[in-house]
């Protein structure tokens, strides 16, 4: 079904939401398309296309934003070492974590930690999960594309 903006079957969307929920609940885990497609009870090819149409981003990029969000929360709310945060949020190495974190947020994990602490008190009355969601990175383009754009910007006068 190609469909316009409202063209997707709500029953399918509800099952796609289930896959999204599962990534939310365990963003540190591996979520290959095969696993997600099984949660939504659709074929792999159908899953990737439908998820993107429903939620505006491909599933792997959605997962990335959740990992960055969670890492940001841990940077903000805990004293865990950055290596430990990288490990807990699903990255295999500190290097990959640091690079992607910078690509997505424009800042290093250490800088985000320092800034978040400076503004922490103002948000105290809002439920924690909603504060966290509000700070989710808005990753509308691929990380590789974002990286290229930043590189271009630095090159231009």
């Amino acid at each position: 079904m190609s469909g316009g903006i409202t063209g997707q079957d709500p029953e399918l969307l509800r099952r796609l939401l289930r896959a999204k929920d599962r990534m939310d609940a365990a963003s540190h885990e591996h979520w290959p398309v095969r696993r997600l497609a099984r949660v939504s009870r659709v074929s792999e090819a159908h899953f990737a296309r439908s998820f993107r149409q429903a939620f505006g981003v491909p599933p792997h990029r959605y997962l990335l934003t959740r990992r960055i969000e969670r890492a940001s929360a841990l940077l903000r709310d805990t004293d865990l070492p950055i290596t430990e945060i990288a490990f807990q949020t699903g990255w295999g190495s500190l290097g990959t974590f640091g690079r992607i974190f910078r690509d997505v947020t424009g800042d290093s994990p250490g800088a985000i930690r320092a800034r978040a602490r400076a503004t922490a008190q103002e948000l105290a009355p809002v439920p924690t999960c909603h504060v966290s969601a509000a700070q989710r990175p808005d990753l509308t383009i691929a990380v590789s594309e974002k990286r290229r754009r930043v590189a271009r910007r630095y090159k231009s006068p």
């Binding site: 409202t6 709500p10 939401l17």
Partner: protein, 135 residues
Amino acid sequence: MTQGVQVAGLYVRDQDEALAFYVEKLGFRVHTDVKNGDFRWLTVQHPEQPSFQLGLFVPGPPVLDAATAQTVRALVAKGAMPPLVLVVDDCRAACERMRARGVEFTQEPVDRYGTVDAGFRDPSGNGWKMLQARR
């Protein structure tokens, strides 16, 4: 209380299904269930909160045209509706009880500085936080 919010509503995909969910799985009771042709005004109420009704409404005619209704159904199914918060005395016990009845949890109970919260969805896709406040 004589003034304040009396009804706030949710859009659901099927009122019978929603009614069974909120009554049998969450312990609400029916407050009003009135039909007028295709239109059904259905509200439920938490037994400990008699001043408030939660409306369970289906998007559709005569209130919404077919295309708008389809858009709303898609939004609900995508979990795009605003957050809902249910307050409980014991989040972990409630979670266990509700899970045994088949409620779909999206987040296990988590301790946050003295409060405990979990997340679940109704069959339509409406997302709830279940919050145990600090004592």
